[in-house]
Amino acid sequence: MTTFIATIEHVVKGPVWGCQDCGQCVLHSTGMTCPMNCPKTLRNGPCGGVRENGHCEVKPEMKCVWLKAYDRTQDWPLPATWKAEYNHLRPPVDNRLKGTSSWKNFFTKRDRWTPTGWKNSTDESVAQGVDH
């Protein structure tokens, strides 16, 4: 059943969004642009190597994934809650989820699991700082 759901998801999301089956989909928060298509698989915005014409450092023929994400977040009629998530700090990918269904992981909340150290480093705890 799990494999079946993953297959359906892949068939639907592959051709439309270039889904790379990371199993922890963030499309809604990135202007419906899959960040796993960035050659560096960056989840938190463009690197410093974006070319003058807005194209990718690694694949000069391709527009930077994050420029697309930025433009679409501004221009597309997406829900405000999705747009608000654009600047959220997305955690590092959980590599164990590769190839699994992000739909299933969403409903089971598996995709929201982060390691304890990461979870404890909230904006507040970081801002509070530690003075050793």
Partner: protein, 318 residues
């Protein structure tokens, strides 16, 4: 507390940082020569991490060497070559030797280097790496395993004010600040208007005074490195008139120096800017001249020689 942290957090003094030269053969001997040139001029010197995707002496080894030679290192950690485990190990390893300044960056892709067939890693990205550093600073590994005592860390990041999408770059500053970055070294930007807008944006976002902006200038000998950066380094655009200015000058080396000085003075006059990062591709006496022209007084305590002209193997050298 490192000098860099003290000056940025407790004073209003302008800070100066620099890029340490890459080390290959004769590592320690060369490190000594480079350290002698930098001694007393800088509040922190970047121990680079396989710069431009070329393998060199490691960032951690360079930082330890610098520490032993009396420089204050800033450990660069990039995301290209190592996964989160190795990054944490490097941070902890450098910390064990007293390194306190850290700067997180995504890093050039492997295709920018001389081993483009290598596997790229990017297990983390720049903002995630900043948060990972903050986690260690709080006394935990990513897993939550305790580090007692937690290392003392002063954390920074990098941003490129000169690459699209320009208006979004300021939002990235906010993101990196929230992740724990206290200073931000900028990539070299030859468009003064872009730097102006970026710095004004940081100020308007209420981040001036919270995150110290440190723009970069590069010392070059002539038009060749300018052309190289323009043509071969993605994310760096050098306007044609800036290249022509050096190219057509009767004394290109002098003109290149004056250009760098102008960019340095312009950068230091921008809002939210707390200092300057200097990359020296010239390896001559203009480093000392630039620092002096910018009003810096050398804080020297050793018998270091400033007249050493060191031959650098770096590809950018003019």
């Amino acid at each position: 507390m490192s000098t860099l942290e003290h000056k940025l957090m407790n004073t209003t003094e302008t800070v100066f940082t620099a890029e340490f030269h890459t080390l290959d053969g004769n590592g320690l001997e060369k490190a000594k020569k480079y350290a002698d040139r930098f001694q007393g001029w800088f509040d922190g010197v970047n121990a680079t991490d396989n710069t431009a995707a070329h393998a060199h002496v490691s960032n951690v080894a360079s930082a330890i060497a610098m520490k032993q030679l009396g420089l204050e290192p800033i450990l660069q950690v990039v995301c290209r070559d190592k996964n989160r485990l190795a990054q944490q190990a490097d941070i902890m390893g450098a910390s064990m030797f007293g390194v306190e300044n850290f700067v997180a960056l995504t890093g050039d892709d492997v295709t920018a280097g001389d081993e483009p067939e290598a596997r790229r890693v990017f297990d983390t990205d720049g903002p995630q790496l900043v948060r990972l550093m903050s986690t260690i600073k709080r006394g935990e590994y990513m897993s939550g395993r305790k580090i007692d005592p937690a290392p003392h860390m002063f954390i920074g990041a990098v941003e490129n004010p000169g690459a699209p999408p320009f208006e979004y770059r300021v939002q990235r500053v906010a993101k990196k600040y929230a992740a724990g970055a206290k200073f931000l070294q900028l990539q070299i930007c030859y468009h003064q208007d872009r730097l102006e807008k970026f710095c004004a944006g940081v100020r308007d976002a209420g981040l001036a005074g919270k995150i110290a902006i440190i723009p970069t200038v590069v010392l070059v000998k002539g038009p060749r490195p300018l052309n190289f950066m323009h043509n071969s380094v993605p994310g760096i655009d050098v306007p044609a008139d800036q290249i022509a200015r050096v190219e057509k000058a009767t004394d290109p080396a002098e003109e290149a120096y004056l250009q760098t000085l102008e960019f340095a003075q312009h950068a230091l006059a921008q809002p939210a800017v707390r200092g300057l990062h200097i990359t020296d591709f010239r390896n001559d006496d203009t480093l000392e001249r630039l620092m002096t022209d910018l009003g810096r007084v050398r804080e020297i305590t050793t018998n270091s020689s400033t007249t050493n002209e060191v031959k650098d193997d770096h590809a950018y050298s003019a």
